[in-house]
Symmetry: C2
Amino acid sequence: MERQQLIFSNSVAAALDGAVAAINGVSSRFVLVDSNTERLVLPRLGASQAIAGARVITIPAGDEAKCLDTLAAVWNELQDGGATRSSLLINLGGGVVTDLGGFAAASFKRGIRFINVPTTLLAAVDAAVGGKTGINYRGMKNEIGAFAPACAVLLSTIFFDSLPATELRSGFAEMIKHAMLTGERDVDALLDFDLAAIDNERLLLLLRDSVAVKRRIVDEDPLEQGIRRALNLGHTAGHAFESLALERHRPVPHGYAVAWGLVVETVLSHLKLQFPSDALYRLASAIKELYGCAPVTCDDYPQLLHLMRHDKKSRHGEINCTLLRNYGDIAIDNAIDDDTLSAALDIYRDLSE
Amino acid sequence: MERQQLIFSNSVAAALDGAVAAINGVSSRFVLVDSNTERLVLPRLGASQAIAGARVITIPAGDEAKCLDTLAAVWNELQDGGATRSSLLINLGGGVVTDLGGFAAASFKRGIRFINVPTTLLAAVDAAVGGKTGINYRGMKNEIGAFAPACAVLLSTIFFDSLPATELRSGFAEMIKHAMLTGERDVDALLDFDLAAIDNERLLLLLRDSVAVKRRIVDEDPLEQGIRRALNLGHTAGHAFESLALERHRPVPHGYAVAWGLVVETVLSHLKLQFPSDALYRLASAIKELYGCAPVTCDDYPQLLHLMRHDKKSRHGEINCTLLRNYGDIAIDNAIDDDTLSAALDIYRDLSE
């Protein structure tokens, strides 16, 4: 797949206009927002020529909007607005806007060009690499979609102040994961960062490092056959926490579940691969401070194990994790037996008390 | 874009099984048919293992089925049938089945693999090269879709005997166009072919030559910036005939309109570029025999000219045609003034009387 051009800048209007000017033969421009980004983000881009001349398409905010009805509504607005094969769509919003908008563009007239401007930290880390677009369909996440690269992804941190703290922390968990795949210095840089009083320029640099890690791993293994599974770090246990919470009708944010999963899988790394205990303690303490503790007791272990065995990453009903010998020293495809996992969950709960 | 593997064979069951066996790691198979091909074609593939083990998805026959509702119905059947990212979809039918089925596969779980088995001559010539998939949407042809190559396209002539003669001739007009872009020998081979008593093996060879022409031109100009416009031969006048007939609620088959357009544009080639008159006479006579004459009088010229000026291939309101100095000697981008076009239409009508 073609590479997406990544632009890291907090001078968003100027950077966006530059990105649009660099695209040849654009006949007309459209900008996709949700009701939140229309109210909170669009007004802050008043200086952008690209936005000023664009027709605005607004979809409802929230995950439920990532559906076929909304997709068709976007197609309709493109059609009614006279979009041609040379039109450009600018997706300005969180993951729903960039995922759905990307697929709307990828499928309209067999593909028009689009630019992503993610406005949440999670969407920034997600949308920057990989070119995945799509919608949810009949209860399945991203069931309908395409791999389609944006012409450019404009990454900025200035919109994150409009987000609830929970949302920001969710994205931050993915960055911690990327740092853990790289080295101790990267992890320390993140854990030392003050999320309560954000330094935008510093966060932009951290975001750039984080995206670079993801890109390096995806480039190395585009077909997801080996090292790319490293990106699943924290997600085997994390998904189980997330699903359990959902079953109990007390959902937790995805990023929080991943953060808890990162600690559990680092405990496993310690038990199986001698991951150093001092680094584990420091991580567990930082995660506890930012994300609290997973709401589980030892009575939940059987159900958590069941969920992990049926995770799509597991094969032959065997629980399978990415582990670390140390930060940056990755071991994919570790089979984990039930006793070791139960022990790890015990230790995790001790560390998070 | 990736190239599609083309398989020319009239031993369809064996060729299909070979094509499926060549694809790695297929978890489950689905076959898409319409109500006609379910009845007329599917029973003739009883010897195919690939078909025997596949879940059949049936859509209504006809152009109206090439819509979002049908697309969603196919997604539903894939989902209900437990299709995974490793599933394979076999599209068995005319252009609606291959276009819609191709897009259903391209968009399900961000893309599953598919094989096209076109059962009409027009779909065979169309689907073999280019990888265009899509559906019609709110009155616009192929408004929603993607460029997505099939793993393989299996081209056979044995199903054409189930087609009405009109349908077969429609596809044949595209083959005549390809021959005209190649050379006199190729045109003669087609005009000498007896469509009333089809020799399947001979037609398969002619189809192979025809597809080779299209592939050569598309490969030379993948972005449709130059020589690929040669494939518009006959279509400027042809689309005008087709639109005029539609406006009058007396629609004509697309291929018939193209055939008439081929003669008009060859007359233009004679007037502007000295295309040889003997070859023109022979073509006009053969087309008249197969397709009759376009139902127009000189009173229709203003409307025909208007339609040609607003054809999507025209720029700045100027009528623009691909012409020939001789068979195989292509001149793209010829501006045509109204008087020359009226003269050409006069000559066309004289030749077709």
